[in-house]
Amino acid sequence: MSIGLEHYLILSAILFSIGLYGVLAKRNAIIILISIELMLNAVNITMVAFSRYIVPLLLTGQVFAIFIIVVAAAEAAVGLAIIIAIYRNRETIDATEIDLMKW
């Protein structure tokens, strides 16, 4: 059976689900950020797969993937800076213990 669009979409859905589980279930803030990177990568695979199989001559999906990578880089830089700032103030990066703004 040759590889088609569905294979890439299912692979991307599996990676996204793993990332979703990590975001919801983990307590370490850095692991949560890593899981978000996994989810962004899964979306990128979907974009490139659509670009390759639906409109192979337009490359629009690859342009979107480049912008997603840019936003992911900015998000990682700011997110890790926030985590380090929180660690300086509270000596922990456990997301369940950072509850100052929790009602």
Binding site: S2, I3, G4, L5, E6, H7, Y8, L9, I10, L11, A13, I14, L15, F16, S17, I18, L20, Y21, G22, L24, A25, K26, R27, N28, I30, I31, I34, E37, L38, N41, I45, V48, S51, R52, Y53, I54, P56, L57, L59, Q62, V63, A65, I66, F67, I69, V70, V71, A73, A74, A76, A77, V78, L80, I83, I84, A85, Y87, T92, D94, T96
Partner: protein, 162 residues
């Protein structure tokens, strides 16, 4: 035939590495598994004939973001506590499996209008035309530049010693 073998190997490696990211208890090993997963995803881009994106993936994710993450792990010294789950572990598992089932159902039951045309190769010149050329994404490129500048300034301000 070679493409199929490459896809299956890369798919298995990326899924296994992603599972290792959420299941390993050592935070540092989870970050290394993330690096492996990102490299496998770069290989997946190659099988989709997106050569420029594969190079960008290696340069930015494997070269840049993973170094940032490992640096943050070193700075926070929370490696000893590991990566425990919170009390939402079972509901999170159910949500993830439900999401996977919904997307899988939608994917397999949609009639995709797959085009038979051969992909553009190499993609670098074509992508440059798309990004900077007439009727392209030049406004988005400039907004991305401002976003990156703002993110770098914000990160510096946040981590600077008072």
């Amino acid at each position: 035939m070679g493409l199929e073998i490459a896809f299956w190997i890369l798919a298995v490696v990326s899924v296994a590495a992603a599972l290792a990211v959420v299941l390993l208890q050592n935070v540092f090993r989870a970050a290394l598994a993330l690096v492996l997963c990102l490299m496998a995803v770069a290989g997946i881009y190659v099988t989709l004939s997106a050569d420029f994106l594969a190079a960008v993936q290696i340069l930015i994710y494997v070269g840049g973001i993973s170094v940032l993450i490992i640096l943050a792990i070193m700075l926070t010294r929370d490696v000893q506590r590991g990566s425990p789950s919170n009390k939402l572990r079972i509901p999170a598992l159910i949500v993830a499996i439900l999401f996977l089932a919904a997307v899988g159902f939608a994917t397999t039951n949609t009639l995709w209008q797959v085009s038979g045309a051969a992909p553009v190769e190499p993609t670098t010149a074509a992508l440059a035309g798309k990004l900077f050329g007439e009727g392209g994404f030049i406004l988005a490129v400039e907004i991305a530049a401002v976003l990156l500048l703002a993110a770098i300034l914000g990160a510096i301000v946040l981590v600077r010693e008072k």
